[in-house]
Amino acid sequence: MRPILLSGHERSLNQIKFNRDGDLLFSVAKDKIVCAWWSANGERLGTYNGHQGAIWTVDVSPNTVLLATGSADNTVRLWNVKTGECLKVWDFPTAVKRVEFAPDGSKLLAVTEKRMGFLGTIVVFDIKYGEEPREQMVDQVEEPNLRITCTESKATVAGWSYLGKYIIAGHEDGSISQYDAKTGDQLENVQAHEFDHQINDLNFSADRTYFITASKDKSAKLMSSRNLAIMKTYVADTPLNTAVITPKKDYVILGGGQAAMDVTTTSARQGKFEARFYHKIFEDEIGRVRGHFGPLNTIHIHPNGTAYASGGEDGYVRVHHFDKSYFDFLYEVEREQLKK
């Protein structure tokens, strides 16, 4: 498995996303630039310029028409994927740590930071698309149609469950919440991870019925979107920054490493800057992919499960297309079940 090295960012990566078709890859970093890449060969398609601060988060609409980004310059921007034109700027009092389109693309959620007397919030905007051609400019709404304020512990990550029914959020104190996506009422709150160990990432399965969380407490958990039941736990030996569920194969990929601020005091061999593959069902570690020389901040998987990309503190994105052996690997019990 030879990786494609995407070296377009000058600072550490914050999030990378494949589009629904898997042909494009979007990456955001602390260097204020959004990059779009061809996932097949790693050629850079273009950049989206305009943010004034580090960009924390990116998401692309399911139809690959709109791109949303959230940044430390306290804005969420909406871009035309094709032209690179900035369509809309929403201003907030604090930085935006997470954006995500609803599964049908009709809504966008944004998680804002708690700072300077402002509580952390999750806001939801209605998104409008133009008539054919859909990329044409449309006036977007100014005000969010829903605002959830996190009084207990600020949300660090959030996403949409199946059918956009719930908003699932991970908090700074290591708990996971389920909100009604229509009313914003908190339905559940589960202390899934060790107390005061922040949830760093939250990614859904393809049908969004379950999701995986990555936490500073060195573990990742697989949880049900319906009732927040913890179904699996994956234990690593290093704080985790990111975790994804692979479609097609029953694996999960975890990434992390020594916290960025501690790295200079430790040797490279013990930084643990590897992508770790665990079996989703049996919770065993089955492999590692090395290459980064800084902690892994973000991993995203091709929607078909044929490739994954990882972005690190080292400023590189590495795209890996899986080999045959990846698809062939099966536990004996799985093979038996397939035969039946």
Partner: protein, 742 residues
């Protein structure tokens, strides 16, 4: 109206006084005890009964004794007379300070005044407290015997059917005791948070686990590690057991302050910082003030560096004697269990630097009576040569000495059975610039204790270790450190073995092999001998650990055919940041560990077999200490052990069968578990799909909304659709050249 000063009446002044309340209980509780004044008084009993005329004479005579420990005067001694003008045989004495009175009690009580009279000196306060009427029952009542309580079996762990070993693990704030399960995760016996403050330590035969607290030492044992003993030594820092677990030495940097009424400690212990305990009774036997070690005799004004001498007290093999050294002066040997100074005097040895007891009771050839041996050395003093001596105890006779020249340092290494003692002598050249090491090996069991000298070593020996119960040894030499160089010098590891000679019991020691250009600095022999691990510990850059076999069963090189050894490197492993290496008591496993006490990188412990196969790695956050539980000596006789060795193949068959069985069981369990987990997962997935379909219905979304999209945009199965191959032609200019055509 509140009373103002002007209108204040007599009544107002006494308003606060409420006469109805009875304060007597509070008064009794908070009454200030006016003892201070009487603390300087002592009562002396056991004096001769004399008439008034000679009373003054007696007082004068007594005064000489009393003034030896404090200062008092004739006026301060009151010796009452009865109606017959005779003294009563006691006197009251006032000292200047309470400390002096205390000293008088400590030092004069029980000392003889003359042949007929023995003084008994007590504090007046104590007489008042304990001797007052009613305090002591007139009639004797026999003490109540406590009903018998069955104690825990302290050696229960030896009865493990699989003969597994236990170990204690200290990480974070928790200490746990576990069974070693080879490559499987260890099985927990107990795990307790805050079990110890500083560290844990096993007793030498594994009976007790000692935990160290600011209040003292606690000993734990039995199948559930219940509390066995508490030894209250405030702020204790170091602990040492005697070899037979009967006694224990504890040390604190801070002198002990005993408060009155302490249940265990008494005035004896006040101001001391070493206590020797009797473990069975849990009582102190005797306490001492520790001596510091000085780097050398004080030279000029320079204050010599002080070091704690530890172990402060060294035990003879049968724990009948314990000795300590006052550096440069003497060795004091105490007899147990009374802890009295052997022969009432310390052994004066001018300049003594160090001593070591023989680790086993040795019988020298031609010596019939019981003896314990100890070895000591003295440096060159003036024109006298340095000297190594061997002393026989209890006779205190020096039975063997050897003079040495140009000595800068000496280390004494006894072989575990006391058969040899290797004196490692670091010698400097005349110019005192370069160092070399000689080994002077005393053959203790042979007639006249002959000495063999190994002087083939050109470099300084930094580490030396005898094979337990054997006659071979390993040493590490190092070259000179180039001044200003940050890289530590390379070291060389040398293996020595005795020559095989027909007739003679043990031939002379010969070098088997030297491995040059190593970084090793530590030697760990298997407790059963034969295997030795040589490693680099506490290093920033190298972490290699070599496993050697001294009796390799393969072909023996021609050059070694006369030697009782066949050296073979079995394996080299690396353990990043290794700080400690520990053999299990049976010599089957070895644990390498990286402790958070030394550094915070990749703390944890790895377990290997004796041959260097790594069985398991256990990275552990805030890992501090790994200690194997020692085993007591085997109960099998020599013949029985031989028998076991002979039939090893048969026994091993049995164990191998068991191992295979265990693996089978484990494998089936794993497969079963996986099957179950997989079925649970598929069931969950199916149910979730159904629920999702229902909800989609309710929302009015067509069931296949996602599927259709997936089918169109993202082929879910590559095999079916055929992999879409993107072919790219990339043109690159490799070289450009311009040719001018004329």
């Amino acid at each position: 109206m509140a009373p103002s000063f002007d209108t204040l009446s007599e009544h107002d002044l006494h308003e606060e006084e409420d006469e109805e309340i009875d304060f007597s209980d509070l008064k009794a509780q908070y009454e200030v005890k006016l003892e201070e004044g009487l603390d300087t008084f002592v009562v002396i009993d056991g004096l001769p009964v004399v008439p008034e005329e000679s009373r003054q004479k007696l007082i004068k005579f007594l005064l000489r004794k009393l003034n030896a420990v404090g200062s008092t005067s004739e006026d301060a001694i009151f010796m009452p007379l009865n109606d017959k003008n005779m003294s009563e045989g006691f006197a009251f004495v006032e000292y200047e300070t309470p400390e002096q009175a205390l000293a008088a009690v400590k030092q004069l009580h029980g000392t003889p005044l003359d042949k007929k009279h023995t003084l008994s000196v007590n504090k007046l306060m104590d007489i008042d407290r304990y001797g007052r009427e009613g305090r002591i029952e007139e009639e004797y009542k026999p003490p109540q015997l406590e009903p018998f309580k069955e104690k825990d079996h302290l050696r229960s762990w030896m009865g493990d059917p699989n003969a597994r070993d236990q170990f204690a693990l200290f990480r974070g704030d928790k200490v746990g005791v576990f069974w070693n399960n080879k490559n499987h995760p260890p099985e927990n016996v107990v795990d307790r948070a805050h079990w110890t403050q500083l560290f844990v330590q096993w007793s030498p035969k594994g009976t007790y686990l000692a935990s160290v607290h600011p209040q003292g030492i606690q000993l734990w044992g039995g199948p559930t590690f219940s509390k066995q003993k508490q030894l209250p030594h405030p702020f204790v820092q170091l602990v040492e057991f005697s070899p037979g677990e009967s006694y224990m030495t504890t040390w604190s940097a801070r002198p002990i302050q005993v408060e009155e009424g302490h249940p265990v400690l008494s005035y004896e212990e006040d101001g001391k910082n070493i206590i020797i305990w009797d473990i069975v009774s849990g009582k102190p036997l005797r306490s001492f003030v520790s001596y510091d070690l000085t780097a050398g005799p004080a030279e000029g004004d320079a204050q010599p560096k002080k070091k704690v001498q530890w172990p402060a007290f060294k035990w003879s093999a049968d724990e009948k004697y314990v000795a300590r050294m006052l550096q440069h002066q003497s060795i004091s040997i105490y007899e147990l269990p009374r802890m009295n100074l052997l022969g009432k005097t310390s052994v004066k040895i001018d300049g003594v630097m160090d001593f070591e007891w023989s680790p086993a009771t040795v019988s020298r050839e031609g010596i019939k009576q019981y003896e314990q041996l100890l070895c000591f050395w003295t440096p060159e003093i003036g024109s006298n040569p340095a000297r190594v001596g061997m002393m026989s105890v209890p006779s205190k006779e020096i039975v063997r000495t050897r003079n040495l020249f140009n000595v800068s340092d000496v280390k004494l290494h006894w072989q575990s059975q006391g058969t040899y003692v290797c004196v490692k002598v670091d010698r400097h050249s005349k110019s005192k610039k370069s160092l070399a090491t000689n080994l002077e090996i005393f053959r203790v069991r042979e007639k006249g204790v002959p000495v063999e000298v190994v002087d083939s070593l050109k470099d300084t020996v930094i580490n030396f270790a005898w094979e337990p119960n054997g006659g071979r040894f390993v040493l590490i030499t190092t070259g000179e450190t180039p001044t200003g160089s940050a890289v530590p010098p390379k070291t060389a590891v040398s293996f020595f073995a005795p020559e095989k000679i027909k007739g003679a019991p043990v031939g002379s020691f010969k070098l088997v092999r030297t491995i040059e250009r190593k970084t090793s600095n530590a030697i760990y022999w298997s407790p059963k001998g034969r295997f030795v691990v040589v490693g680099t510990v506490h290093s920033q850059t190298s972490f290699d650990i070599d496993f050697w076999d001294m009796d390799f069963e393969g072909e023996k090189p021609e050059s070694d055919k006369d030697l009782a050894a066949n050296l073979q490197l079995l394996k080299t492993v690396e353990h990043y940041g290794v700080t400690d290496i520990d053999w299990d008591p049976t010599g089957r496993y070895i644990v390498t560990s990286a402790s958070a006490w030394t550094h915070s990188m990749e703390n944890g412990w790895n377990i290997h077999t004796f041959s260097g196969n790594t069985l398991a790695e256990h990275p552990t956050d805030k890992f501090k200490q790994f200690v194997w539980r020692p085993r007591p000596a085997t109960l099998l006789s020599k013949e029985e052990q031989k028998q076991v060795r002979k039939n090893l193949r048969e026994y091993s068959k049995e164990f191998e069968e068991e191992d295979r069985y265990a693996v089978d069981i484990a494998n089936t369990a794993v497969v079963e578990k996986r099957k179950r987990v997989l079925n649970e997962w598929t069931a969950w997935l199916r149910r979730e799909k159904e629920l999702l379909a229902e909800e989609k219905d309710a929302y009015g979304v067509p069931d296949n909304v996602d599927d259709a999209k997936l089918a169109k945009d993202a082929p879910s199965n590559i095999e079916e659709k055929g992999d879409s191959v993107v072919e790219e032609i990339v043109e690159e200019i490799i070289e450009e050249s311009e040719e001018v055509v004329v």
